[in-house]
Symmetry: C2
Subunit: 416 residues, 2 copies
Amino acid sequence: MKHKFLGYRCSLCGEEYLHEEVIYVCPQDGGNLDIIYDFDALKKTLSIESLLTSREESIWRYLALLPLGTGLEEPTAITHVGWTPIYSPARLKQVFDVSDFWVKDESCNPTASFKDRASAVVVSRAKEIKADVVVTASTGNAGAALAGMAAAADHKAVIFAPRSAPPAKIAQLLIYNATVLLVDGSYDQAFDLSIDAAEEFGWYCRNTGYNPFTLEGKKTAALEIWEQLLYPGSLKDPLHIFVSVGDGNIISGLHKGFKDLLELGWLEMMPRIYGVQSEGSAAVANTFLAGDENIIPVSANTRADSISVDLPRDGVRAVRAARQTGGKYITVSDEEIMTAIPELGQVGVFAEPAGAAAYAGYKKALIQSIVNHDAPALVLNTGSGLKDVNAAMASVKPAPVIEPTLRAIEKALNKI
Amino acid sequence: MKHKFLGYRCSLCGEEYLHEEVIYVCPQDGGNLDIIYDFDALKKTLSIESLLTSREESIWRYLALLPLGTGLEEPTAITHVGWTPIYSPARLKQVFDVSDFWVKDESCNPTASFKDRASAVVVSRAKEIKADVVVTASTGNAGAALAGMAAAADHKAVIFAPRSAPPAKIAQLLIYNATVLLVDGSYDQAFDLSIDAAEEFGWYCRNTGYNPFTLEGKKTAALEIWEQLLYPGSLKDPLHIFVSVGDGNIISGLHKGFKDLLELGWLEMMPRIYGVQSEGSAAVANTFLAGDENIIPVSANTRADSISVDLPRDGVRAVRAARQTGGKYITVSDEEIMTAIPELGQVGVFAEPAGAAAYAGYKKALIQSIVNHDAPALVLNTGSGLKDVNAAMASVKPAPVIEPTLRAIEKALNKI
């Protein structure tokens, strides 16, 4: 019997490869590879009903739609990743005068970011192909996610991080027992170094926008949004999804998930996907606006470290995610990002700057009438605010210090 | 029809009160109040089967076993709290030479600690009794949890924190839009001040070991352990549960949950509950060892800020939780706690010092033959390591900085 996972298709030249022919990118032009499924076979074996009644409360409920299980061993369901909650915050709906608004909160993933989805699938793949060491270059979340997922699966991870990464993220790498090497150079240098090291030492490279399995892990968020919100078609208009964009792999993953659902005939309306970038790191937004697929590197400078990227490694697919779904790209200033942190906080969601950026983008889209107030919208918070406490503290007024007396309380409360 | 929630019983003198008669502690001796249920009625209306098939993946699956719903409004199911994962880390089972070992990880709660369970129930209660403002004194997690749950429920919170609380925890309070007052004094002074302020300004006080609803929120962890691990009785021996103890309310909450299950006839064997305290903050352990119920304050000094408590406000019930279940108290040094952080990390669980303390206690109990290697054991991680990144960094060796060359990698790897 053929496996559901048929092979790869280059996102640039369209060339197809069998799944044992290539590992990372297209040998001809370096393009990112899309994984091809045998949807005819899947349609015959899968039923929505069995999925909807699954008691697996993690991304592993979608195992049948992941490119795993080609090895001799059963795929390893590593730890409790995904199946994150969707909130519908009343206060923000009132403020924005909208009736359908949701936040999907990825901060409750095991390492507190969206990236666990990708790392869990990559580590599972590594186990299948008997790759003993997984390596990645990361500014933080992807590395922490790889370190955490590898630890949970008792697998070996090596992480190259730029030495400027935030302390909380480096702490996670070390605690999860990864081999951490702080590269005295840029993220791009760390990226190239990790690829060279993978080749030199026979490691399996998880790099985003390079390893085709990260996208498949990330698409599970789209599958969840579909299952938690869209099925069986209660919305009258397409859902408008706002997601922050750095290297472009998350937005591309969401797009892939919805495309897979369309192929299966399970999705009624393709959501419109809106990419939000920081003005200081807007390479993908620039390309979107230029109307082509030519990604020109920038010299990134933004407070939102997780989406601070000079050269987006998955830029082309990221542009298409918005372009092909009727979405757009929106850029926001660091000031707008910082304002967004306490605004999301006041409804109980504590986001890191990159996560808050998506919310800032939605707000701007409403104000500038890019989206209507009656358009159903979802904002994805991609990471916990605990990842960058300094940014959080800078986004709010400090708390007053008082003497332990009732009089001091009264005085302080009058001032607030 | 009578409500399932009949009233309160003082944990010290045994005096009973109707649920509208008192709010916080016993008017006669200040003892903590236990909530009394009409178990005969509950037994008639509740079925295990309907619980086990519930699709509510949060503490609200146990709403029927919570003292809510006495108001005119339906109880408010605030946000996605609890129903946290239980892991069975292969590597640690091998290291310890044990066959049944689990970690229940509370770090994936919305504000990244166990305390969300209590705060969600208290805020829900506040809504029922139309208390517009909820106040608490907290060294960190309880305050963050109250602020987060209040934000999610669009409710007003006031938090008194000692000005020495860790920055990550203060950041959470502010981001969640609570009114934060940093008290220039000890936690005990902040505690007393919050009670005075509640009375003076008509606020509802959430303080741990004072408000009887926190215990009910915390008992949900026991209900989950039962449902996820113990039902329908697959273990041959009683489960040994290790939990860190500060003010004593978490361990008392676990005990209450299991007692409720016994009353319902749903629990086969009462687990043995082991309290773990820091040597520098061991008031409850001291009382346990003394064999009485006389809690003598200490001058607490430990790196594990969440369990650093001079006067445990729920000490008596905390002593009983171990004593009445055949458990014990174990004290661990700060060094043992710090060593525990990366040991838990290497299986994918990133704990704050207080959370790691429970693991350190289990390890010590094994080494000292306080528990056997064939005893099934569960360690509760009560909070995320991201809450105290400085402690995490102090528990591991710093990562080496390298030039971006393969040669530098080889050199660094040889040293590791």
